[in-house]
């Protein structure tokens, strides 16, 4: 689904000219341009946007958990072009038991920590990432806190009365 305003946007026009298969949607809502691509084309799209449209920096990478919908994870890349003073949101959806997709660290070195954060808090694996380890949570932490099925508190500790006596 490509809406009218987005279809007239130069970035979208160029992307459609380059390849017909990668854009699954493009829309401008609240003055913000979003393009949706398939998960296996993300690196390709990012490299194209960086090279052809001078999106020199990735502002942030994050995910949204739409549990229980499937595919449950939306990966969101916010790109910024200093040269054109322009921003774009690239979105893709992954789901399943062990969600994974290709890392964009080969396009922007700055994607490194953001992808580690998504890996840490959502449990989405990035292939070909140079150092995919937990970044905010302790290394031995179980689970991924920002998933919707992760409770907000009290999941790990059972407070039981000591055997043979009352807890006083």
């Amino acid at each position: 689904m490509i809406d009218e305003a987005a279809a007239a946007h130069p970035v979208v026009i160029a992307m459609r000219q380059e390849s017909t298969s990668w854009l699954s949607a493009a829309y401008i809502v609240l003055n913000e341009l979003t393009v949706e691509v398939l998960p296996d084309r993300v690196v390709h799209a990012c490299r194209f946007l960086r090279r052809m449209h001078q999106f020199e920096r990735v502002s942030t990478i994050t995910a949204v958990d739409r549990y229980p919908a499937e595919p449950r994870f939306e990966l969101v890349y916010h790109l910024h072009s200093l040269a054109h003073n322009q921003r774009i949101r690239v979105k893709t959806r992954v789901g399943g038991e062990s969600p994974s997709l290709e890392s964009v660290t080969s396009v922007w070195a700055g994607a490194n920590w953001y992808e580690r954060e998504v890996f840490d808090l959502f449990g989405i694996e990035f292939k070909n990432h140079p150092d995919l380890t937990r970044i905010l949570m302790p290394e031995d932490w179980q689970g991924h806190p920002l998933r919707k099925d992760f409770p907000i508190h009290g999941h790990r500790y059972d407070y039981m009365e000591p055997e043979g006596g009352s807890a006083q």
Binding site: V29, L30, E32, E56, R57, V58, S59, T60, T62, V64, D65, R66, V76, H78, H80, L82, N85, R87, R89, W108, A109, G110, N112, W113, Y114, L121, R134, I135, L136, M137, P138, P145, L146, F150, I152
Partner: protein
């Protein structure tokens, strides 16, 4: 008893092994653990430094000690309640975080706030910038060897915190900027309080510069230190004063004006030296520009309402609540279940004292956000740390850390 290992034997053997080995096979590097409680790391940052003599071969920052799950908590609070959490993200620039979050939600709600609220926000956010830069200047100078600066900066910061207390009742966790306007109207006598501060502050900035310019320790330790290629800085996600000290004129207040910044006359200071000294000068000049903005805001402060006319979002006045049934119903609804925000997503970017601050707010149409992601400037800037200190002297590490001006609460959220 024989289970207890004796320390001496293996250690001596190891040492002898090292000493007897030919020099070229001896390990040259040692690993030094800096932090997580080192005073110059400005919080709980741990850096694992691999050193070859005095030089850093490799550095690995270890973060997350202050991670409190603020993003997760936001998903379990109503939109207005989540404002209080944004204070705790960057505790030296509370108002900037309040403002960014509030602007994002207001964009989703398509809510217009009255001019008085906008101007008051701009003034307070600029005062916050001064507050943040003062803490940075004081601690940075103290790290590098100019002790006096710390006391002067804290003296001025105290005045600022008093002003914040006057407005919001809180010195640090202000939560004064709310969805739909401000929490309260400006207090009686705010003009005099801000005016008194603005009368003395410009000369104080000159004083800081004089003090530091003639301090040879300070000058020698920061000039020509901490350079990195501009393209690499951009690639690593560095923003704000660090990027402006590298000659890139980028500032969200000019590039994508918010909250009425387009009505104010100010410059974006840039330098091209790209070292610690240039970063210091950018921030000093920014203080001067902030003074200009605050003075314009004071002079032209519009009257009228300080909250939007949106009964479903903004709490009614106390008096109306007691006399009008509708107001009472709205009050009850807002307090018990919050207000619903239309489904959608917004990425709002503002210029915080540290750089590009972005809030990505996703709504699913309920009264609680589906996702609040904070793109904090400190996190992006800190990513460049390993590259900035690679190959540098360990004494320079302290100066470079200070020049990056990160807040660990902002990094770990």
């Amino acid at each position: 008893m024989s289970e207890v290992p004796t320390l001496e034997a293996p250690v001596v053997a190891d040492l002898r092994q090292v000493l007897e080995a030919p020099p070229e096979t001896r390990p040259r590097t040692m690993v030094l653990n800096m932090g997580p409680q080192h005073p110059s790391t400005h919080g709980v940052l741990r850096i694992v430094l691999e050193l070859d003599g005095e030089h850093v071969v490799h550095a690995r920052p270890d973060i997350g000690f202050l991670h409190t799950g603020i993003e997760k908590q936001c998903e379990n609070l109503t939109y207005q309640q989540a404002v209080t959490l944004t204070d705790r993200v960057d505790y030296l620039a509370n108002m900037s975080n309040n403002l960014c979050y509030v602007l994002a939600v207001e964009k989703l709600l398509q809510l217009e706030v009255p001019p008085r609220a906008e101007w008051m926000r701009v003034m307070l956010v600029e005062l916050t910038r001064l507050n943040s830069h003062l803490v940075w200047l004081g601690t940075h100078a103290m790290d590098v060897g100019a002790m006096t600066m710390f006391f002067y900066c804290m003296r001025e910061r105290e005045d600022l915190l008093r002003i914040f207390e006057m407005f919001s009742g809180q010195r640090m966790m202000t939560s004064y900027i709310r969805i739909g306007g401000l929490a309260l109207d400006a207090p009686r006598g705010w003009e005099q309080a801000v005016g008194r501060f603005m009368q003395t502050f410009p000369s104080r900035v000159d004083e800081y510069e004089d003090l530091l310019k003639k301090n040879p320790i300070w000058m020698n330790r920061i000039i020509g230190v901490g350079e990195l290629d501009v393209a690499e800085l951009v690639d690593l996600g560095v923003t704000g004063p660090m990027l402006r000290a590298a000659g890139i004129k980028t500032d969200a207040r000019k590039d994508a004006p918010y909250s009425g910044y387009e009505k104010f006359d100010f410059e974006v200071p840039t330098f091209t030296e790209n070292d610690v000294y240039a970063r210091y000068r950018v921030r000093i000049e920014e203080m001067r520009e902030s003074i200009k903005i605050i003075n314009q805001a004071r002079a032209g402060m519009p009257g009228g309402a300080f909250q939007a006319d949106a009964p479903k979002v903004v709490l009614p006045e106390r008096e109306k609540m007691k006399t009008q049934m509708e107001a009472l119903i709205y009050h009850f609804k807002i307090v018990t279940e919050g207000f619903r925000v239309p489904a959608g997503e917004v990425y709002q970017v503002i210029e915080s004292p540290r750089g590009e601050l972005g809030y990505y707010v996703v709504s699913d149409g309920t009264s609680k956000p589906l996702r609040v992601h904070m793109r904090t400037p400190s996190f992006g800037n800190l990513q460049a740390l390993a590259r900035l200190i690679q190959g540098k002297l360990i004494a320079d590490v302290i100066a470079i850390l200070g020049s990056m001006d990160f807040v660990l609460g902002d990094v770990d959220r």
